[in-house]
Amino acid sequence: METILTLTLILAKIVAIVAPLMLAVAYLTYAERKIIGYMQVRIGPNRVGPKGWLQPIADAVKLMVKEIIIPSGANRFLFILAPILSIGPALAAWAVIPFGKGMVLANLDAGLLYLLALTSLGVYGVIISGWASNSKYAFLGAMRSAAQIVSYEIAMGFALVGVLMAAGSLNLQDIVLKQQGGLLHWFWLPLLPLFVVYFIAGVAETNRAPFDVAEGESEIVAGFHVEYSGMTFAVFFLAEYANMVLISALASTLFLGGWLSPFEGIPVLGEPGLIWFVLKMAIFLFLFLWFRATFPRYRYDQIMRLGWKVFIPVTLVWIGVLGLAILFRVGPWFA
């Protein structure tokens, strides 16, 4: 009886995380089209519902009723499995994200490691879809994506090592609590290079513009998901946006103090709360969209150069600097 009760409680918590997440993903697509529209002096979707608010719902319904086409030369099982492998880790990673003090599904001691492991699994969806489609474009996209994700994961991992050193814990809850004390006490300041590297590597990991060579439509049509249609395509789409939300949530948790208020010490405004977390995530999500509207796509060799020859040395040097800073107890962060 008690086990059933705990299971139901966990299930309810999962629904309470995933349902708003899916809604956020749906309206992120709407926000993307609107924001990029305004940046390009267009209006964006405005036909379905008032001001186009029902557009994502209409898109979802359309994708659900479309036919799923499986190419004749494809490996059926892997072809269907790939989108699932893509979205699975993107959702599972939310288990350790703290939304407030004590508001977390699994208060894991190795939370940061768990996140690193899960984000590295997302690449399987891409590789398997590229291979199972039995299509040259899809395969090229998959290979590009695999090389890119593996390269940027190293820089990302090193950036997380910096966070781990500064916080002295792998537990995300402890990492946030360690940043108490307002805007200047958050880790973005002592870890500024790592923060920048982390977010850019995050953009690269999610295959978003300007790092979207995996789907580069001008070169390889749509890359790894060129053969996908209907719901299978929609799941890839969901996974990409869920990953964007995840990277934003992580960047806010690790570098911008998660649910903490930037005005700590001031009454009312200084209260920590979920609202701060959501606001910080919104900033990063806006950056994602802004990047896409602004930057042209990187050339493949430039991506590799940036990852290996710029980001990895930067993070390595800063980890050394950080070690010294901790040793000599610099500033309010490591006192």
Binding site: L108, A110, L116, A117, S120, F139, M143, A146, V150, Q302
Partner: protein
């Protein structure tokens, strides 16, 4: 049978199935994917043993990095499978013998521990605040610091050796781009603006 035991058997059965498929399946990409499945299930088993740090590291390193590169290479290979299968019967006795020896050795370990150290079979229950990660870190950086650092140096040497072996001199004719110089380019180096009188309207 407790829930944990049930989970153990599920993961163990999938693990053994996947491991067998790795060596029996014909397609090498499928074999690599089964290996991924096997790693994942063994990570789950470690998790049941409350070794969460090791379990997550296994997923991170082997599933997240090593197998991705493995798949990357295997997918690019253009292997004809027929010659690979040719010597199957010829090598079967040797393979079977090696397999048998491993099974016997595993059996011996099992029998030995059952006879002489039965208490090992009980999982040591840790208190609630116990952090596997912390204990491992403390052990690695205090008691085992020298073996740990030596292993790290050996790995570093291996990395450098691998890079040195695969770095080959490209022929002189290969064109390179120097990004530093590319960045330094000024408009004046590339473009000459010419002032011209506008043509008269006819």
């Amino acid at each position: 049978m407790g829930f944990e035991k049930f989970l153990f058997y599920v993961f163990a059965i999938v693990l053994i199935f996947a491991a067998v498929r790795v060596i029996t399946v014909r397609n090498s990409v499928h074999a690599a994917l089964f290996l991924v499945l096997a790693f994942f299930n063994s990570a789950a088993l470690w998790m049941l043993l409350q070794a969460e740090f090791l379990a997550i590291t296994l997923v991170l390193v082997y599933v997240g990095a090593v197998m991705v590169l493995f798949l990357f290479v295997v997918m690019m290979l253009d292997i004809n499978l027929a010659p690979l299968r040719e010597g199957f019967i010829k090598y079967l006795p040797v393979g079977a013998a090696v397999g048998l020896i491993i099974v016997v050795e595993m059996g011996l370990v099992e029998v030995h521990s059952r006879l002489f150290a039965a208490e090992q079979y009980h999982l040591i229950q840790q208190p609630a605040g116990y952090s596997n990660t912390k204990v491992l870190g403390e052990a690695l950086y205090t008691v085992y610091v020298y073996p740990f650092e030596i292993a790290a140096v050996i790995l570093l040497v291996a990395i450098i050796a691998a890079i040195a072996l695969t770095m080959r001199k490209r022929p002189e004719t290969t064109k390179y781009q120097d990004p530093a110089q590319q960045v330094l380019v000024k408009r004046g180096d590339r473009i000459r603006l010419v002032k011209m009188p506008a043509e008269k309207k006819l």
